[in-house]
Symmetry: C3
Subunit: 427 residues, 3 copies
């Protein structure tokens, strides 16, 4: 009946399940940082999960991962076709054989459709959950839901087709983004930026001089629970992104966890010693997140010692970025989408060209990736830096533009995307 | 030392662990829907877990899964015997060989006793946790605990021996219930019905005209946490029920998750567009649960597209059932045991005869199951429908009767099973 | 690329992840038992995790698990060397070959460094989290953090080198401690004792006649959540300690879960019937914990029936120990470090010499361990009892002494380790 690789499927489907739990954890993170007044975020994250599975199953999964036309867009009718193979029991990767993009000619990890779909649909869901932290109580839930559908049809899927699909044009050029520094974290930042910009345009029209500020109001138990759930979820995100069970997968456990731990200590240290602040639960949490974000795009390319160095650097980077973004008055970002995910994602992606060691990259299935500048990569590494920068510009511009256009259409249909949350009856 | 199948054991024991966490998640669901006043439910669910493991180990596991006498009851002294093999290190399935009911002559999945016991004992525990949502603050904890012992000796185990034990009389006739639409969800409903009927008899004697109503009082954070824990737990329930790691197991991930996601959207849509209500967190949660319940008895028999269709149908079914049950005045069911688990479980079981595709059923180890009416099953499918209906009547009647008799005995011994929760000192 | 055993690595790395979540669960346990006033415990547990991963990666892991000098201390520069192999991609157990202490010449389970490191670093973290439950709001966070660094360099690692490292002097003598009855639970008690003694010295100097009492203030939802997370985490702790996926690993699932379940019922029964108390959530939780603790040092050595007997005995033992410790006035232990972890850990270790069945011990990789006195072990069992007693005295004395000296140094540097929590501004 089956040609799938059991160890690889066991590994990746369990990792997929961990990722699947992350959107709700992001909802709990919002409440942990902003208080129970923001509990409607939980409905938002459940709806995101429902939309992600449904829309990705119908069309999104194929747009991202089926063979592409010109490297630009996957064939929505390919192989299993719409509805993940519909009623067919002969669909590739379902009961017979393996799903194409991971088949022998590409990554050769022999994952089944069930495994690979849950992994990628869950990743898409958590990306939109990150975008959603800027929604707060400012945006209509219906407007966000309409945006979600567009998001899982094209906004998440097209950049994925370009970089994670082995027939994508950026992948073919040599761009690599291990577990989504660009495609998840920075892209979430770009979409969030378009949302806060659109919100600001409506707030300005109402006569506001600065965007309504949402104060941080830490709820320690929910924040701590969200943090450990997210950290555990990241085990799915990064080690799972090897898409196979092998020694590289367990090495990615090391690089991921060491960067998170080190950045926690780095943020606490710099905040205490340099800024004379208190290393409280909020900064500890953001330190962990920053460390995990920064390592995400290169977790499979670097050594454990490399991950520790990255974690140390990420600490002051976060504190500086947070300070810079706090000065902006036209948007509100109390859950740190921009200083953590946006800045951390882009920074991590650039560091690929510095910290990569080709032996580690090869082991995780990226044998074409050259070593970084710090490990004798020379001009090949400089070339990689250029590629990653190109990908960053292209993807962030595309995500921002598609989001803005979608919001514009939705705003016209619904009479604006914002709502006066003080007058709302709904929690 | 070992003859067990490592991939199958890895898969099923991890799924078993996920199911093991579900009773407490049901306790948190009660609090998420009814408020912290119901926190004694948490003690109840911990005691259920303790009882399930202890009683099933001593005798219940063999009554359900050892070779049966006449297809009716497993031999309590078989093989490993009482206490899961007692002090013997040669017990089948312990360190040597495989546990009989999954051995070469039956399902051939080569699970060890440790794996299979945890899987089934956890399933039994979560079934009683579902029953327990009607207990509220109305029933004495001691009475429920006494009932629990009876439950794990005969009430859960006998129907399991009939349908899940390959020597059971209903299994031999051809009845199939993939992961427990009947044996878990509908059976929980039947037991719950006997409990609310017995409570009503005592309430009537106290002069009440209608059962004391417990208002819904949503606690968003605990409700959302319970939901994600239950959804993750269902990954254990359904995909784990293949009892093996293969491509069918990963396909069941698809059918299960797509039905849950689709029904969430279906409930939200119908509630908003048809009923003009608000798609709030409570309905989103119940939508997910309904989708997961309905797919449970057939998750291994249907295609992904079949699961999506099922999820769409389940939405309005839940809304209609909820409305109907709300009109009844002689019982109180604020956590939706009847409209979700009872109705959804029975409906899902019947749908086996409509949506089954034999290729999927065969892959999950049920090669004798004919395709459903929608897939050319014809008279074989009609015959299957009759079998499932017969099993439903037999199991629900048996569970209701055994529960009612047990409660009658307990009530006589303890002077009634109800208690005046308003005067209680204990939380 | 790889020589690792996939099934064993899959099993152990997933178990490691479960253990990794436990320190925060211990933090939630503190809040579940003491109320939200103690939410600073959550910052403490996150810092413990960060320190554990960072310090163990730099030096602690090698001190515990690299080949020892004279059986006393691992070579900090061995093999992968500092920083888990630093920037080397040829480090043993990283991408090539297997980590030494589990290699062919020793346990032969072929774990990679990533897998084994996460397993042991997480175990170290949870041990310190247990120590930390006596810190309450009495000890300066900085002082505890300084102690944490010392802890992961020598206090946790040296005893581990003696007993869990196959070249350690106590291991070579024949001492066995399956998953840490001594090295985790009792050792946490010894370190906690040194901390409360040091706190008491400072409290006495302030003129107190008895240590400031912290009342129990149960928060049911967080307590129940912490309990289920800890129980699930224990699945990592005990079954994972086989360090392999085989039938013994699944048998350890049985022994562990049956002891926890039985002790829950035992505590509830003795408290209700003998002490005429209420079997409330707090006692249910402590019953589960006691059962899990007591079985920890011997989970891989005993039969399921043995585990049930142990669980029954552990119940009254806990109730008696709790009563005894409550009478002491010079320290405060509201989360039961001493009656549960200290007493339960030592008791469980001694019971190795009574309940071990050599067939089970051999299957879990401990073929030199003789059967216990109850299973015909005779003089070999008596000898084992002596060995375990020796190890207990040596390890507890060493942990107490190292902790006390470390605190003395820290107290001098920081002007005492205690703080007046009533006047604190920080939560």
């Amino acid at each position: 009946m089956t040609d799938i690789n059991l160890a690889n499927n066991l590994w990746v489907v369990i990792c997929a399940l961990l990722i699947f739990s992350m959107p709700v954890s992001v909802g709990l993170l919002e409440i942990g940082e902003l208080g129970k007044r923001y509990s409607r975020s939980l409905l938002k994250t459940l709806l995101i999960i429902g939309c992600a599975l449904f829309v990705m199953a119908i069309i999104g999964f194929n747009i991202a991962f089926a063979p592409t036309t010109g490297g630009l867009i996957g064939n929505p009718l390919y192989g299993p076709g719409l509805f993940l193979g519909g009623f067919s029991s002969n669909a590739t990767g379902m009961l017979n054989g393996v799903w194409w993009s991971t088949g022998p000619s590409y990554f050769a990890t022999d994952l089944s459709t069930g495994t690979y779909f849950l992994f990628e649909a869950a990743s898409a869901a958590v990306t939109l959950a990150l975008v959603g932290v800027v929604v707060l109580r400012k945006m209509k839930l219906e407007a966000f839901l309409a945006y979600s559908v567009v998001y899982f049809v094209v906004i998440w899927t097209l950049p994925a087709a370009w970089i994670w699909n082995p027939t994508g044009w950026l992948y073919q050029m040599g761009v690599r983004d291990f577990a989504g520094g660009l495609l998840v974290h920075a892209a979430a930042g770009a979409a969030g930026l378009a949302i806060v910009y659109r919100i600001w345009r409506e707030e300005k029209r109402k006569g506001l001089k600065a965007s309504t500020v949402v104060p941080v109001d830490v709820n320690p138990t929910w924040l701590a629970l969200a943090m450990i759930l997210l950290w555990v979820g990241w085990f799915g995100f990064n080690p799972g992104s090897v898409l196979a069970m092998n020694s590289s997968a367990t090495t990615v456990v090391l690089t991921t966890f060491l960067s998170g731990a080190t950045c926690l200590l780095s943020v606490a240290f710099f905040r205490r010693v340099v800024l004379k602040g208190s290393p409280d639960l909020l900064y500890a949490s953001n330190g962990i997140l920053m460390g995990l974000i920064v390592i995400t795009p290169m977790a499979g390319f670097v050594s454990p010692a490399g991950a520790i160095v990255i974690g140390v650097i990420a600490g002051p980077l976060y504190l500086a970025a947070e300070r810079w973004f706090l000065k902006q008055r036209w948007f509100t970002d109390p859950v740190s989408l921009f200083p953590a995910h946006f800045v951390g994602g882009v920074f991590g992606l650039m560091m690929i060209a510095f910290f990569t060691q080709s032996a580690f990259a090869g082991a995780s299935g990226n044998s074409n990736l050259p070593s970084g500048l710090l490990f004798g990569g020379g001009t090949a590494a400089l070339n990689q830096l250029g590629l990653e920068a190109l990908a960053t510009v292209v993807v962030l511009a595309a995500v921002f533009a598609m989001t803005y256009v979608a919001l514009e259409v939705i705003a016209r249909a619904m009479g604006g995307i914002t709502t006066d949350y003080e007058k709302e009856q709904i929690d």
